[in-house]
Symmetry: C2
Amino acid sequence: MRIGEIAALVGITPRAIRHYHHIGLLPEPRRQANGYRSYSVRDAVLLARIRRLTELGLPLEEVRDVLADDAGRELAEVLGELDADLARQEREIQERRRVLAALLEDPLTPDAPLSPALVELLKSAPTTASPAAAKDREHLSLLDTAVGGDAVYAALRPLAEDPAVLRLYERLDELDGAAADDPRIAALADEMAAAVPDEVLAEIPYIGPVATGFGQALLADYPPAQAEVVRRVMQTLTARMHRRP
Amino acid sequence: MRIGEIAALVGITPRAIRHYHHIGLLPEPRRQANGYRSYSVRDAVLLARIRRLTELGLPLEEVRDVLADDAGRELAEVLGELDADLARQEREIQERRRVLAALLEDPLTPDAPLSPALVELLKSAPTTASPAAAKDREHLSLLDTAVGGDAVYAALRPLAEDPAVLRLYERLDELDGAAADDPRIAALADEMAAAVPDEVLAEIPYIGPVATGFGQALLADYPPAQAEVVRRVMQTLTARMHRRP
DNA sequence: GCTTGACCTTGTCGTAGCGGCAGGGTTTCT
DNA sequence: AGAAACCCTGCCGCTACGACAAGGTCAAGC
């Protein structure tokens, strides 16, 4: 038999057969005078076994082991491991589909998939057009992957629902074009820091000193006066975290 | 932030981030004087979205589309397709596990995974030490992948259960070292061909002329006298297939 | 001041299982 | 005799990075 013939017989492609030769899964058959590979029925039987094993999802390397070892016990063991692996994959897929279903069911799906707990929190917050509030929501989506966990969101809920917080955001917005020594900065920073309850701080691992890379990056994201407010708030909060370990 | 910092923040590796830059999924940030990449909070938010999307199993190319398009509708569509894809994978895995369970349950599992129908057929056949019978069982395992289908095995069952067939195998075995013109050949070939019922021929697509690659390969698998028997049987059977289309 | 260790940089190779293509020879049908 | 349908070898491409290699940078400790 030539390669196309045996390939059609066992239902695989000639390319796959050559690949099996290449990796040593199937020995090269003898050649005809013209260089064509000449296959025997025994080759076909072997290829049929290979096909059935690979269709189960067995990697080629393990197929080789099974064919090499004078099978029996080896095969059952390998298939057992394969089943365990497939079971794991199945659980992973089901978990992902569970998350997906939750996302698709909620027509909100802002523009990024968020944890259900955070979606819940964002829903509970009053809507506002404040750019500062929008930016904070982005930071929350970062918190979602960086920290995660329902405890944070539970601690944040009173803050999110408090309409007074909106006024703080608006006052921050008003500092957009202001200078870094604007007189409104000190009071706003004090009030913002005071608005954050201890429970929230307890849930956030450790922001680190303001001079940290993340702190610098955060400040760089704001215009001067707002950055100064953020800097003071961070300083106050980290001091509070240190005082109450 | 430097790359290691932002990587730890969003829970991925620096290598992955560089990879995202390389494929254009995330734009390169500006560099510090020493050449280090300098990341902003916005980058972190983007990376967090990327991470959540990839964790769902979304390929990076589609993640790029979702981030590029001013999302909303696009996202839901992509996630819908993803869910359909995952559902398909889940079905495939379940099917494979179903087959695996059947194989593992049956302590027989000769040395290759066979279709349940074929296993059933082999069980129904009387055990024998005949080499010719063993070879035929290998050919059956080839038939399993080449043709498949319960109808073939149903048609073969009376043949498999017939103890008289064993005598035919034994007579074939006796021709092992014989010459190609042995006087026992003609009678044995006739009887073997006669033993194959029409129902079996009806289920086998078309063997093709004896001179075909497969026919040649099959004959090459037998010593001279046996090959001559097989050749005659094949000839008779193909003639019968032609007479009754 | 000098070393050590933990970072960062670029680049290349490897992964599983083939598909696709290039560039060439063979056989077979018309 | 030309075209279609085979066959050959060999190399690139795919996913989503991990694992090097070979070097530059920076803070801390001796």
